[in-house]
Symmetry: C3
Subunit: 146 residues, 3 copies
């Protein structure tokens, strides 16, 4: 536990565990906001979040909670378009262009039977375990589990 | 990334994203607990959390998860009353009186079509974007996404 | 707000609020990963998380979200077994043996009518309120709400 290891860096590390539209949206907007302010940003995709990195998984997928509240996918998409809010795909591209790092959880891949070929490998900077996550997180000023 | 910017202050910054009773409750009790111990506290209300700041939204609203587990709203309310647990309204008032700061997410307002007039403006200290959140969070010792 | 109080220690403090299999799993794997890297780790069990500490509550319990996504309990269990992923019970035992600390939320016990006798007391290091949580969290380098 040397002091060097625990020095807090100006970095945001997010575990994106949920796959709902609003959760992916939140992770990316916080990631992009952090990058825009000169911080580093890492998003660690696990469980339902990782399913969004499967080819074609970003725009569709789990929208259960939105639907449960009577605010359907169509309605949200319509409103978001109307308000000119950037779509997830665009936000993801911005995240990468601004220098954000995307890590895929190997354990989730193993549990859910997802292979590298299933994933959008061009977006992913590493396929890692919990050790790599902890290494990033312990030095981050902002840690979130979304 | 000057050191000044990343100095950790004794502050709790919470994103309240969920609207379930138990999540609002958790955010407020952690906020109040932090304030009671001499820390600063900020709650950033987004998505379903923000809907709780709409006039009349605190006591009603999404209780889906509680219901799904067979622990209905009535049951919880009854038990909470019985145990004399402070209600959300009271907790919110305490939070403000102890010096807690409430921020409303402008992006959510835009997506969900919520205007300032719809919100309980007397509780809200600012209508802000992700940049303001990151500024608070990067200097906080406790960051949570609820 | 003395500097001593806010010094960041190499510790992971997790609030386990959710009871879904994937959330308990995430809390334990991050806890064990932190301990394995020489950090301290504390998991504070509240709400649906605390129900997992009720006798017999670890293996069964709320799996709603998994089921909603068409990935049933049986399927997950089968795959996890196949992949030789350690089960929750084993992960919990590892967590304790590696020196992890388990705290039970007194407020949840009061709200849900859970007594100490209902809980697996051999696992629990303390029955505490929000103050004890804040004391742990304000000094932790990784704080998560799961």
């Amino acid at each position: 536990m040397a002091d060097k290891d625990t020095k807090v860096a100006d970095k945001t590390t997010i575990i994106l565990h949920g796959g709902d539209y609003d959760k992916v949206y939140s992770a990316l907007i916080i990631g992009n906001g952090s990058l825009g302010m000169g911080m580093d940003a890492v998003i660690f995709f696990t469980f339902w979040g990782l399913q969004r990195l499967v080819k074609g998984g970003l725009e569709k997928g789990a929208l259960s909670k939105m639907n449960m509240l009577g605010l359907g996918k169509t309605m949200i998409k319509y409103k978001m378009k109307k308000q000119n809010v950037a779509k997830l795909e665009r936000m993801m591209r911005d995240f990468k262009e601004l220098g954000g790092k995307i890590l895929a959880c190997e354990m989730t891949m193993s549990i859910m039977g997802i292979t590298k070929k299933d994933l959008r490998q061009e977006l992913i900077d590493g396929y890692v375990g919990v050790g790599a996550y902890v290494q990033e997180a312990r030095k981050s000023s902002i840690n979130l589990f979304i």
